[in-house]
């Protein structure tokens, strides 16, 4: 097991990602952040808080998206249990930033785009990930905001741990 980002590095990376978002979207008036269930929302929770701090806004449009029913492997090996989708605003015409922790094959993001489009027609969709496993892609999907790009082989696993859920902020590579 190898540590890719420790607590401090992770914190700096999150700050940078949040600033990059604000750099591109300025006042967030027509922008919404949407985290992907289940583990993407731990990242998007943090990013949404940081963006609020940087922009000085009390609230921004922020939602959570469940993609279970849009997976392409819904019947392979077993049943995936759904989680809540909480999007309490219209995404119609909005600029959406999809947020997930690890970008691997790209299949999750494909499903997330389909799930999102079932909620309405956004103006644009961008993708933010904390870790990009760049040589593992199976679909033509690339992120717009990346915490760290890493080279891995398929048998390795990347785990992003969060204080709220796992008791510690860190990103590790498991062989």
């Amino acid at each position: 097991m190898k540590t890719l980002l420790d607590k401090n590095q992770l914190n700096i990376t999150l700050q940078r990602l949040a600033h990059q978002l604000v750099e591109n979207h300025l006042n967030f008036n027509n922008t919404a952040i949407i985290g992907i269930q289940p583990r993407g929302i731990l990242l998007s929770d943090r990013i949404a808080e940081l963006v609020k701090g940087i922009t000085g806004k009390n609230s921004i449009d922020y939602g959570q998206l469940d993609i279970t029913f849009y997976r392409d492997d819904v019947h392979q090996g077993g049943i995936h249990l759904p989680q809540d989708t909480n999007i309490n605003f219209s995404i119609e015409g909005k600029d959406i930033i999809l947020v997930d922790d690890v970008l691997h094959t790209g299949r999750t993001i494909r499903a997330a785009m389909d799930a999102l489009l079932a909620e309405g027609r956004p103006n644009s969709i961008e993708l933010m990930v904390l870790i990009d496993r760049r040589f593992s892609r199976q679909l033509p999907i690339q992120p717009d905001y990346v915490g760290r790009t890493i080279d891995t082989i398929i048998t390795q696993k990347v785990k992003v741990n969060w204080q709220e859920k796992d008791g510690l902020d860190e990103v590790v590579l498991i062989d």
Binding site: F69, Y70, V74, L81
Partner: protein, 310 residues
């Protein structure tokens, strides 16, 4: 986590955690049904046969809608106008349908136990949509789901089932379901319509409907099933309505807010009056709405071929 069963034949065979899993899954489908696009592509590779050997409006439409909202392909089969009238057996009928590559069968049958018989002979997953006077599991699930939605929880709640308990598969499935979820259950109605020894299922019995209403927080009023009564069990419908029918003045005299349910179809003016069925206490149409979400959850969870974990 996944269901402990391959078929949904009866509530009796479900674990409490199965029921809770179905409810949690139905919660997410209810979110889907409130969107503009009320459809998900989850089961686009699944074909479901709806086989109804007995009449149905709500249940058949509800199942078909649930299947379509999941993007499953559906075929509908009604016994009238089919080869069943030429003498084809149940297994032959179903096997012929399955030979056309159907993954799941939703069946209603007038013979109690028919879905169990079928489950022993074919590979596809079977969902019981009502068998004779035995079980109607999806109705019980949607009833309990609707109570949970209105009252927050089922545990410890007092629920009375009123009317034709003897011929009601809804009553039996409801009793199993509510008991597993920790509710107190009382059946009420004329002695001729309450089976002997029903206390053995852990329910209270009351022959005075007024007393049952005073005790309960929720009343599930059942339809008088004249088509299943082969000998007279009460004198006239008017007499039944007089002694056992639920009306507004009776509810008003209780001085409390009750939740009123009915599985449909309603005999207005017999077991329940319009002034109750259409009142704000009634969740009859919520039951119908929740039926689609519950059936989507059941079909989705049974479509899996193993356990993936969380």
């Amino acid at each position: 986590m996944s269901l402990s069963v391959k078929h949904l034949l009866g509530i009796k065979e479900l674990q409490t955690q199965d029921i809770e899993l179905i409810f949690r899954t139905a919660d997410t489908f209810k979110q889907v049904l409130q969107r503009q696009i009320k459809k998900v592509p989850a089961l686009r590779d699944t074909t479901v046969a709806n086989i109804f050997f007995e009449n149905s409006t709500r249940t058949r439409i509800s199942f078909e809608l649930a299947e379509k909202r999941l993007s499953a392909d559906t075929i509908n089969f009604a016994a009238s106008g089919s080869s069943v009238s030429k003498g084809e057996t149940l297994i032959d009928t179903v096997n012929n349908i399955l030979a056309m590559k159907v993954d799941m069968v939703v069946m209603r049958h007038s013979a109690s136990g028919a879905p169990w018989f079928l489950a022993n002979h074919i590979d596809a997953s079977i969902i019981n949509a009502g068998d004779g006077t035995n079980e109607h599991p999806t109705q019980a699930l949607l009833d309990a789901f609707s109570i949970r939605e209105r009252l927050g929880d089922i545990k410890g709640k007092r629920i009375t089932i009123i009317g034709d308990i003897m011929h009601s598969r809804v009553a039996l499935s409801n009793i199993f379901c509510l008991k597993k979820l920790g509710a107190e259950v009382m059946v009420a109605g004329p002695p001729t319509l309450i089976p002997k020894h029903i206390q053995d299922l852990g329910v209270k019995v009351e022959y005075d409907v007024k007393k049952a209403l005073e005790w309960a927080e929720v009343a599930n009023v059942l339809r008088i099933q004249l088509e299943r009564q082969h000998k007279p069990l009460f004198s006239t419908l008017r007499e039944y309505a007089l002694y056992y029918g639920i009306n507004k003045s009776m509810l008003d005299s209780l001085n409390k807010e009750m939740v009123i349910m009915h599985p449909g179809p309603i005999n207005r003016g017999v077991e329940i009056n319009s002034d109750v069925a259409d009142s704000k206490n009634s969740i009859i149409l919520d039951q119908v709405e929740n039926g689609v979400a519950i059936r989507m959850a059941v079909i989705y969870l049974l479509s899996g071929k193993g356990d993936l974990g969380e």
